[in-house]
């Protein structure tokens, strides 16, 4: 009997909701939610339509009544801003963690 068979994760999927994963996800969700809330509404809107609703530029243009070119530049700026906010909050988080230690 071959006891060295590799563990097949597709056959035996690990429960995805381990306490650690939940904690990380919860932390991520909170950070991302706060970061999104800091964005101006028009940026938050295009970003959510694109990344979470999976809308095409054409669909976003229809929803927001903006030209497609504007959709692309809004998305660019929304992503840039979100990244900046997240980097800042990550740096803060680090600092806080450092102080606690």
């Amino acid at each position: 009997m071959d006891l060295t068979t590799e563990f097949d994760e597709e056959l035996h999927p690990q429960p995805s909701v381990t306490p650690e994963a939940l904690a990380i996800a919860g932390d991520n969700r909170e950070r991302l939610t706060r970061a999104l809330e800091e964005l101006p509404v028009r940026f938050r809107e295009v970003l959510i339509l694109r990344e979470l609703e999976g809308c095409s530029y054409k669909e976003i243009a229809a929803v927001t009544s903006a030209p497609i070119g504007t959709v692309m530049s809004s998305l660019a700026r929304a992503r840039q801003r979100l990244q900046r906010v997240l980097t800042q909050s990550a740096a803060q988080h680090k600092q806080e963690a450092g102080r606690e230690l």
Partner: protein
């Protein structure tokens, strides 16, 4: 980041919104632009963390439908991404397809049958008219069915049923060969008072059928299939007389 593309084309590329030529151009640009490579990676990470964070609680289907119904038709098509059509949509498509197949299956034979019948009827009415030209009516002139039937032997690849109905008012006049739709058929000639009736007979593989009748150019015809033979009687007699002969032939 100094490359201006990181704030423009890169996003179109990331979102799969560029056409093939522009996407290829951008991919060539990526080879020589570390700014864009880094920005692309950062944006891809941002996307996956947004999508994995579970930020979004999707409304239950029933609630979504209710909200969409209230949003009105103008915004609806653009608001719902059609990535995951509801299962019933496929059912609806499948049902439509099946209905089309079913209708095609039921109607086509009817349509084809009726137009085929009409074409056949006009060919037979033509043949009937030709037979009324002097000297064309009979190849074998005899009122005796035992003369007419053997006459067909060797001239056809089938043996048409030949009966004399003189007692029923349809005396046999004779028989001949004719050509209908490219095939040689047997024709039995009956008389009804002063009228002549041509009965065209040919073999068929179709099942027996109820008589189908019609009229063309003032001539009536009645067509039916019985025991592997198709028969079509045509004449200027009244349709009732024709139906009577048809009953005799059916027996």
């Amino acid at each position: 980041m100094n490359c201006e593309l990181t704030q423009t084309v890169l996003h179109g590329y990331l979102d799969g919104e560029l056409d093939a030529a522009r996407a290829a151009d951008f991919e060539r640009h990526l080879i020589s632009c570390p700014d864009c490579v880094a920005a692309l990676e950062a944006n891809e990470n941002l996307r996956s963390s947004l999508q994995r964070a579970g930020l979004y609680e999707r409304a239950p289907q029933a609630l979504r439908q209710k909200v969409q119904a209230q949003l009105g038709a103008s915004t609806r098509p653009s608001f719902i991404p059609m990535r995951n059509p509801a299962p019933w949509r496929w059912l609806a498509i499948a049902a439509t397809f099946l209905l089309a197949v079913f209708l095609g299956w039921r109607l086509l034979p009817v349509l084809r049958g009726s137009s085929g019948q009409t074409a056949l009827a006009s060919a037979i009415v033509d043949a009937h008219l030709r037979s009324l030209q002097p000297g064309h009516l009979e190849d074998v002139q005899s009122t005796d069915q035992h003369t007419v039937k053997p006459w067909f032997d060797g001239k056809l690849d089938f043996a048409p049923p030949v009966h004399d109905f003189v007692n029923e008012g349809f005396p046999l006049q004779g028989g001949r060969l004719d050509v209908v739709h490219g095939r040689t058929v047997a024709v039995l000639v009956y008389a009804r008072r002063k009228h002549l009736i041509n009965v065209f007979v040919w073999p068929t593989t179709e099942p027996d059928s109820e008589p189908l009748s019609g009229s063309q150019l003032g001539y009536h015809w009645i067509d039916f299939r019985k025991a592997g033979m198709e028969m079509c009687a045509v004449s200027d007699v009244a349709p009732d007389d024709l139906a009577e002969l048809q009953h005799l032939l059916m027996q």
